[in-house]
């Protein structure tokens, strides 16, 4: 028995992704740097996850992501308490739980890191939702700091030339905004370097995610949820490039050595929507117990989907298109097409959709996507009703039963 325990322990150790430690170190340093920005005469800008961070990096402004904050709040299971606090402030419990919990942290320095560093400016890009506009308005009123809005017209079927022109003009307005609030000229040469690093990081992140085309997959979507942080927060820096290169090397080594994320990978699944941050481990173990690996997801790929629109020789110019054409800013049928491509690419057996009551642009339309996927691919689809942060909307026993039933269908189909 003791021998068996030792071997399963060592197998477990082997399965652990070593880069995790480095990632934690980078994120800790990043938050320390951001929290001490004022002492070092550096500016802090809060920015939405789909927003153009590269000009901030070029201006030496520290970008801080309230959505990443929301994810941390969810993962540290502080959601319900902060949601209740926001409800006392007057925010309806039907609103986005990232926004609610982040807003609740402000006045009390609440949350897992004692509140985000105070912003000097806010940059809001509505390519991910209209909610961020309202959320950033709330924060601009609360902190009394300037707000820049990058308005990226929604592309139901196509992006018009006029829309591209509109976004391009706003990129120029954004640069003027930064020059004004940073008190210095925009450094176009530095921007070129930042653009190159951003592109490189996105390519590396895509390559990392692509390692899961291998059978067994060296990592799962649950790992991707964790390693995603840098492509969101430090895109455009050397740190992100170096880290993803290291992670890619590790993944390639795992592929060579046959080390898998799930011990006996038999079923390969695709995940849709944001993670259920407060239950990632539970879900990961649940699927793993069924020999199922979530090999890919529609969420973490969002930060490298625009690669084809980026012009390496003129990053600034191509930003209008690359920031407008992101996953959540396109029509439901285009989303379904992308999902079908992923099902094919990652050789997926089943599709798990998180109907996330916090995120309407991601969730409304999922029923139609489900129908399209079933009609075009025939793979089984599971819909889980939950929320990314507010665990009060999570019914464990019901979801467990549904996962078990879904896995039974997959096993019968085999």
């Amino acid at each position: 028995m003791a021998g068996h325990d030792r071997s399963s322990d060592s197998e477990k150790q082997q399965r652990k992704i070593k880069s995790v430690r480095k990632m934690k170190e980078i994120m800790t340093n990043y938050y320390i740097e951001a929290k001490s920005a004022g002492q070092n005469n550096r500016k802090v800008a809060w920015i939405t996850s789909g927003g153009p961070v590269e000009p901030l990096i070029a201006m030496d402004v520290i970008p801080v992501y309230p959505e990443n904050h929301g994810a941390m709040i969810g993962a540290s299971k502080m959601g319900p308490d902060l949601c209740e606090k926001s409800e006392i402030m007057g925010y309806s419990s039907d609103l986005c739980s990232y926004a609610r919990t982040d807003i609740a942290c402000g006045p009390i320095d609440g949350g897992p890191i004692g509140g985000l560093p105070r912003p000097d400016m806010l940059v809001c890009c509505n390519n991910i939702c209209g909610t961020v506009l309202k959320w950033y308005e709330v924060q601009a009123r609360y902190y009394g700091v300037p707000l820049f809005i990058l308005d990226t017209p929604f592309c139901h079927e196509r992006l018009s030339t006029e829309a591209i022109k509109y976004v391009s003009s706003q990129i120029q307005e954004y640069i003027v905004f930064l020059e004004k609030h940073c008190g210095k000229k925009f450094d176009y040469d530095k921007m070129e370097d930042v653009g190159r690093l951003s592109l490189e990081a996105q390519r590396l992140w895509q390559a990392v995610l692509d390692t899961t085309v291998n059978r067994p997959a060296p990592m799962s979507a649950f790992d991707a949820f964790f390693h995603l942080a840098l492509i969101v927060t430090l895109r455009g820096t050397r740190i992100a490039v170096d880290y993803y290169r290291q992670l890619l090397d590790e993944m390639n080594q795992r592929v060579d050595r046959g080390i898998s994320a799930v011990p006996n990978e038999k079923y390969r699944l695709l995940w849709d929507n944001l993670p259920i941050w407060f239950r990632t481990r539970w879900l990961s173990e649940k699927f793993s117990a069924h020999d199922a690996c979530l090999v890919a997801d529609t969420y973490t790929t969002a930060w490298c989907r625009s690669l084809k629109y980026i012009d390496p020789s003129d990053f600034i110019r191509s930003m209008a298109e690359s920031y407008s054409m992101i996953y959540l800013n396109i029509g439901v049928d285009q989303m379904a097409d992308m999902i079908i491509e992923m099902i094919d690419k990652y050789d997926v057996d089943g599709f798990v959709m998180h109907s996330n009551r916090s995120c309407k642009p991601y969730s409304l339309g999922q029923y139609d996507i489900r129908r399209i996927i079933q009609e075009k691919t025939g793979i089984p689809v599971l819909m889980i009703e939950a929320d990314m942060v507010d665990s009060r909307s999570f019914s464990e026993s019901q979801i467990e039963t549904r996962i078990d039933a879904f896995m039974e269908v997959l096993k019968v189909n085999e």
């Binding site: 926004a99 209209g130 809005i149 308005d151 929604f154 139901h156 003009s169 706003q170 009551r357 409304l364």
Partner: protein, 372 residues
């Protein structure tokens, strides 16, 4: 008044009116989902602009497409379309509004079979010069797309005439608001509500004529009117239920204004009749009282509500929000704080889907009236 009866008939059965209109005029009915539609363009094309608000029927078909956490407007509209209650439409136009209507547009396009589907992806931030340029291109593009879809030409003169008509309509509706506010015995809030509901689906030329008659019939506002009741301002997005007015008045309130996009917000601001018509039309939609799904400053909505509350010397504000309406619900805490600062009491009531049960609303209203 007989003429008011006609508005009630249309408000009670907008689809029936549109069907008859279509047969009589052999014309096209163009459905739209939001008050940001430049309806002047549809009128200039000789078509009937028809605001889709949901008939309030039980949701069953829409459940296969929309989660229960979508608002009743979005679910109700889709239900009507899927159940064939909007089969008289030639096509639909979706101005960019909120996340829910944005996704409804996709779902609608994939699941309905009208002749055309147009997305009007307007700017969301309204102060920037670049947004004004873009807005103009969107409106111009809409004119071209609609002309093509309906196979008609829309000349500058057509557009100018439509602008004149829509401006007169808005002006007369504003007069009616004044009459209802000052002299509710001549035009009650329920009557005005019926006129406003009908005005969003009626043939605009017919509406223009009927409103002139109605304005004359109601006469000038009576400055000496001493109507009883506590002066209440209503706020929110859409208000399709006339029962709300009845309950409010029975509870001791007197409605002196609103901020609904089916009401006052829809009729504020005229289109300049000089210069280029597309530019003039675009300007109205850039500058009219803003919807919370758009941005025109951090305090614009709150300041506007406070100003109309002050102007009308209101004793209380009742905010009627649709459940799951994110843009309005995000604004509530700051708007409430601004009203509190002015010592204006405020009550929030969330309108839920399904058959109206006035009981709870009545209790809340009575308690509120007692408090103020």
């Amino acid at each position: 008044m007989t003429i008011v009866r006609e508005f009630f008939d249309i408000a009670n059965d907008p689809a029936g009116y549109a069907e008859k209109w279509k047969v009589k005029h052999d014309g096209a009915v163009v459905g739209y989902l939001c008050s940001y539609i430049p309806e002047e363009i549809i009128v200039a094309a000789g078509a009937l602009p028809f605001r889709i608000l949901g008939s309030g029927s039980t949701i069953s078909l829409a459940d296969s497409h929309l989660q229960a956490y979508s608002c009743s407007l979005v679910r109700g509209a889709l239900e009507d379309a899927l159940a064939g209650r909007l089969d008289f439409l030639s096509g639909t136009v979706f101005p960019h509004t909120c996340d829910s209507i944005q996704r409804l547009s996709d779902i609608w396009r994939l699941n309905t079979r009208y002749k055309f589907h147009i997305d009007l992806v307007m700017p969301v931030k309204l102060q920037a010069k670049s947004a004004a340029v873009y807005m103009q291109s969107v409106v111009d593009q809409f004119k071209n797309e609609l002309a093509q879809a309906l196979n008609v030409g829309i000349s500058e003169e057509n557009l100018r005439q439509a602008v004149y008509t829509c401006n007169r309509i808005r002006k007369n509706l504003r007069k009616l608001y004044k009459i209802q506010k000052m002299t509710p015995d001549r035009l009650s809030s329920i009557e005005l509500h019926a006129v406003l509901m009908a005005a969003m689906v009626m043939d605009r030329n017919e509406l223009d004529k009927k409103l002139s008659v109605l304005v004359k019939a109601t006469g000038l506002p009576n400055m000496d009117c001493t109507s009883v009741g506590k002066r209440i301002l209503l706020g929110g997005s859409v208000c399709t239920r006339s029962e709300i007015y009845r309950v409010l008045e029975e509870s001791g309130g007197r409605i002196v204004g609103d901020d609904f996009c089916t009401g006052d917000r829809n009729i504020q601001g005229d289109v300049d009749t000089t210069g280029d018509m597309i530019e003039a039309v675009s300007r109205r939609y850039m500058t009219r009282i803003v919807c919370p799904a758009k941005h025109s400053g951090l305090l614009s909505r709150g300041e506007y509500l406070v100003s109309i509350a002050r102007e009308n010397k209101v004793q209380g504000v009742i905010l009627l929000y649709l459940k799951f309406c994110d843009p309005h619900l995000f604004d509530y805490p700051y708007i409430k704080a601004m009203l509190d600062k002015e010592n204006i009491p405020c009550m929030l009531y969330e309108l839920e889907e399904g058959p109206w049960s006035g009981g709870q609303f009545k209790t809340r209203c009575e308690a509120f009236m007692e408090m103020i």
